[in-house]
């Protein structure tokens, strides 16, 4: 694979996807420590939001330690070069949240829908584009449909005003060939000015390989998180990816030693549990299940005595999509009843 001279823009997820792994309990001080470290290391774009996006604060997904507004107001003024992005899932957050984020100085809005439901994003993408924000359409669980379907949905988002489209492997299910096919088709068929991005999870141990395949196929934005702090087995570990890009002589703009130090000195100490491919995270990838279900399934296991792995496999079989966290306890209760445990 030859990536020599290719430009890659890295987008950090530690303070958004990482919120899942932290049960949305990062402190303002931790947010500032991580983001200023990343800014200093040269990361150009950092996402700061509740794990489930703006307005995600809920019993269903977890109440965060602070509001999105408090986090954004703590982080944005501290940035020297990095820009801040925010995630929004229509159905959870609204354009009111989007305007709030814009007022806080957020430069990039990423509007996320399930990979077949792009048409719920029209009002949010339209509003962000109208406010002249960097506007991203984020197609989640992209492993569930064909490359042609992803393209069809991407074109909708593009028509609403998105200047960048992501193919998102929310379940960490994809293997590199699938990434190549999907990113390649998007690159070939979308407007040449529309950027392509890839968001991976490490549940099958493929996050680095998949991200490289994405770059080779034409993606310029790659998501990752420092020390992999993210849902499931985490996102593409940024310090590792930077080292690989360095070896391949791609242009990434990051100070490798500095980002290694953020990973080791700042992020690893704040983890509640090791972020690794344990059997439950591996099951997410293997069964194609939304990565943030991990801790919910483990809590249901502790409460109802049903193995998290069994719950996750059944959720995969039923075709659950991102945001259906409420299904986990419901299903665990039903399984426990069926097995005579309650």
């Amino acid at each position: 694979m030859d990536l020599k001279g290719k430009n890659v823009k890295l987008h950090d997820m530690s303070l958004r996807d990482g919120m899942h792994a932290k049960r949305h309990q990062l402190s303002l001080e931790q947010m500032v420590a991580v983001s200023t470290g990343l800014d200093d290391a040269g990361i150009p774009l950092i996402e700061v939001t509740h794990g489930d996006g703006l307005g995600g604060s809920s019993l269903n997904y977890g109440f965060p330690a602070h509001t999105d507004e408090e986090y954004l107001n703590a982080v944005v003024p501290k940035m020297k070069n990095a820009k801040i992005s925010a995630l929004l899932l229509p159905g959870i957050g609204t354009v009111d949240h989007l305007k709030m984020a814009n007022d806080c100085g957020v430069s990039t809005i990423r509007v996320a829908t399930h990979c077949t439901e792009a048409d719920v994003s029209e009002q949010h993408i339209g509003m962000a584009a109208k406010m002249e924000m960097d506007t991203v359409g984020f197609l989640m669980m992209a492993h569930m449909v064909s490359a042609e379907k992803i393209l069809e949905q991407a074109k909708l988002m593009e028509s609403y005003g998105a200047n960048c489209i992501y193919c998102t492997d929310s379940a960490g299910y994809m293997l590199p060939d699938e990434v190549t096919e999907k990113i390649g088709l998007l690159r070939a068929e979308l407007n040449p000015n529309t950027e392509i991005g890839f968001h991976g999870h490490h549940n099958m141990g493929m996050a680095i390989a998949n991200s490289l395949a994405a770059v080779e196929a034409g993606a310029v934005r790659i998501d990752g998180s420092v020390a992999g702090l993210g849902a499931g087995a985490g996102n593409t570990p940024l310090e590792v990816f930077v080292a690989v890009l360095e070896r391949m002589q791609a242009n990434h703009g990051i100070d490798l030693y500095k980002i290694m130090d953020v990973a080791e000195d700042v992020v690893v100490p704040l983890m509640d549990q090791p972020i690794r491919v344990d059997r439950d995270a591996l099951t997410l990838g293997y069964a194609g299940v939304y990565s943030s279900f991990l801790l919910f399934a483990q809590r249901a296991e502790a409460k109802y005595g049903i193995q998290a792995r069994d719950i996750l496999v059944e959720l995969g079989r039923r075709g659950t999509v991102g945001g259906q966290e409420d299904m986990i306890e419901d299903l665990a209760l039903t399984m426990a009843k069926d097995r005579g445990l309650i």
Binding site: S58, L59, N60, P90, G91, I92, T94, V95, D96, H114, T116, E117, D119, V120, E122, Q123, H124, R318, G319, T320, V321, G323, Q324, D326, M327, E329, D330, L333, T334, K337
Partner: protein, 303 residues
């Protein structure tokens, strides 16, 4: 005089047609007119086959017939944009308006919670909230009728096939309207609503999760009884309204997990979200009819 209220349905789409099929079985409401804007529409043709009079020139096309046909109730299944005008024109002629659009210019109506109150006051325009609201607000109310709820949150998961273009273009309206009604009708101090659209095939049944935070330690026995009673009330007009799990208690959190199967009249059974809207709309008009028949309310005078 017949006890049945004569009705017009505005909007011959999926909702209007399903409503028509339910109404033809009603002891209290009789469908007379179906109103559309496209003479070629399948919905108008279907209504004609069912023996209804039809108009393809919108509400204006039936205004001259309201008095002579003794039309007393209208159901608007069009869009929020045209509802206000439809309602104004028909209210002027003394027609009660049941609003199935998100316009919500009248008070929210969730039948087992506050319909009786609206009917007894002869409210001339009532709004049926949203599908998620109809499916979940009875449960929030079941808890808040026992003790104070400081926070109520609902998660509605619906099949992709059951969500039409109008809802998709303005999904924020669902979120706002439903959370507002969780407060106004459900009785929670603060409300939140989440909607998830799932494209699985075969389509999944509508499912709903309701979480409430009570101000003080929940009275488990009383809440459980209240929830079961409320399920029975909803089942009177939506037989497929089913308590799957709960109520379960975790500190001050009360959680209820529901599934809503439709009757499968015109819309498929999985579209319980649409069925519960048409069933609630019809139930609303029936209550007005019952109250008028009993003499509890007097319908607007006609010359």
């Amino acid at each position: 005089m017949s006890k049945k209220l004569k009705a017009v349905i505005i909007g011959p789409g999926n909702i209007g047609t399903d409503l028509l099929m339910k109404m033809m079985r009603s002891d209290w409401v009789e469908p007379v007119w179906m109103v559309g804007i496209d003479p070629e529409s399948e919905g108008l043709k279907r209504a004609q086959e069912f023996g209804l009079k039809t108009s393809s020139t919108g509400v204006d096309g039936i205004l001259d017939h309201i008095i002579e046909d003794d039309i007393r109730v209208a159901f608007d299944a069009t869009s929020a944009y045209v509802h206000a005008e439809n309602s104004r024109k028909l209210n002027e002629l003394g027609v009660i308006m049941v609003d199935l659009t998100p316009a919500a210019i009248g008070p929210f109506c969730v039948p087992p919670v506050n319909l009786k109150q609206h009917a007894s006051q002869l409210e001339m325009n009532v709004n049926m909230v949203t599908c998620g609201g109809q499916a979940t607000i009875p449960m929030v109310a079941a808890v808040s009728q026992v003790q104070d709820v400081e926070y109520g949150e609902i998660v509605a998961t619906v099949s992709s096939r059951s969500v039409g273009p109008g809802t998709r273009q303005n999904i924020d309206e669902f979120t706002r309207t439903t959370s507002g009604a969780v407060e106004a009708v459900g009785g929670a101090d603060k409300g939140k609503a989440i909607i998830i659209i799932n494209p699985a095939e075969p389509p999944l049944m509508m499912r709903d999760t309701i979480h409430c935070l009570t101000k003080t330690t929940p009275d488990q026995a009383a809440i459980t009884e209240s929830v079961h009673n409320m399920v029975k009330e909803v089942q009177k007009y939506v037989p497929g309204y089913k308590l799957v799990n709960g109520p379960i208690f975790d500190g001050n959190k009360v959680s209820v997990f529901m599934e809503v199967e439709g009757l499968g009249d015109f819309l498929p059974k999985y579209a319980g979200n649409l069925d519960i809207m048409t069933a609630a709309g019809l139930r609303t008009a029936e209550m007005f009819a019952e109250e008028a028949y009993k003499g509890e309310i007097t319908l607007p005078e006609r010359g």
